[in-house]
Symmetry: none
Subunit: 206 residues, 2 copies
DNA sequence: GTTGACTTGTTCTATAAATGTTCTATATTT
DNA sequence: AAATATAGAACATTTATAGAACAAGTCAAC
């Protein structure tokens, strides 16, 4: 959290974070007074100066309309950090094929979780009955446990990676293939290692 | 945003961006004064000079009608803005259900085209055989033509919107349902209006 | 060509208004 | 009492503008 601000300072700072991008030009102190219900330009200046001291607002040396948030915080606000690493390819029944240097991909927030995630590209049609087609990108949250019914990246016998719905019972793990003509596969719990859980999927038709 | 311009500088710069292409020749300072409501050529010169200092206008050393924008800013216009409007919901056989105020969604570049695009959310399982499930987001490029085999948003009889593969023959348009148990539907070309082409798809499992 | 009026960019000074800055005084809260 | 918040006055600087003077090019008339 930001270095202890007073109530008013926090209020003004919140307002700036929220509304500064909406102005065509940064507002004057008087305009800020109107917006926040002050009537003294001098008072507003004092508050702004405190925010400058706190390193949250760029120092504005006599510049008119010079109020800008520190770059530190614009990044934190705009949080345009939607990039996740694209780690390789996954095809049912084969190990994950990692690529040398993972490239970053944009992944919108709804398609990922707050936890660490990565992206794989699907090879083959083994999951087509689940709506995951050849060439799709899948977003995987990195974790080693899952709830029943989730689709997981599972490593079987330390060699084969698959993307399947998981069902865990005492002493048994069942992987349900998407294709309904194929029967579920039963394993001992120590034969199956969960590498991640499917949280998002993307496809390009171009 | 451009390196902090004053209010007037921004106004003049915006005017130039907007209107410079409309002049047969770049305007003189006096013409700019007329256009922007100044009466002093000297004042206008001072403002233009500030824009030159800021790197937004080409330096014009005594040239007549020498005002030109720097190429710098064309790049800034094409800014890295991955946001597309989420316009509403599409369910097979019903009109598109528009929402009041479209919200913006992040859409990674591979899932969209260079042309204007928008996002719809799918309702129902009518496209599940194509790997498009209930709740998926689809990215649509706004255009009224398509190539055979593309998936389009088609408006049939001005009332029903569907997402289907299109096949266009002379005098006939065929819409192929994803579900193979259903038979293709044949229409007159003027019964079908193409509203866009599917270019991307996203799904959240959370 | 040369001349001279005209246009146009450039530089300068002066002025008014807007706006940031600093200060003092007073209330309010803790 | 100390910290916080506010108002308002006084001051300083920036911004915007006008207008004069000058230089350099343009163009028509001779």
């Amino acid at each position: 959290m930001t270095p202890s601000l007073t109530r008013r300072q926090q209020e003004i700072y919140d307002y700036l974070k929220e509304n500064l991008p909406l102005y065509e030009q940064p507002p004057t102190l008087n305009e800020l007074c109107d917006a926040l219900g002050l009537s003294s330009r001098g008072s507003m200046h004092k508050q702004i100066h405190a925010l400058i001291e706190a390193g949250l607002v760029e120092p504005m040396n006599n510049q008119r309309r010079g109020i800008r948030l520190t770059s530190f915080d614009t990044t934190e606000t705009a949080a345009n950090d939607n990039q996740l690493p694209m780690m390789g390819y996954i095809a049912a029944g084969r190990p994950i094929e990692a690529i040398e240097t993972p490239e970053n991909m944009d992944v919108p927030p709804p398609l990922r979780s707050e936890k660490p995630c990565y992206v794989l590209q699907v090879k083959g049609d083994s999951m087509s009955d689940e709506g995951i087609l050849d060439g799709d990108w899948v977003v995987i949250e990195q974790k080693d446990t899952a709830r029943n019914g989730e689709i997981v990246v599972a490593l079987v016998e330390n060699s084969d990676a698959t993307l399947k719905r998981i069902e865990q019972k005492p002493g048994e793990v069942i992987l349900h293939p998407a294709n309904e003509t194929m029967s579920p596969m039963h394993y001992q719990p120590d034969q199956v290692k969960i590498q991640g859980v499917l949280v998002g999927q993307m496809r390009s038709y171009r």
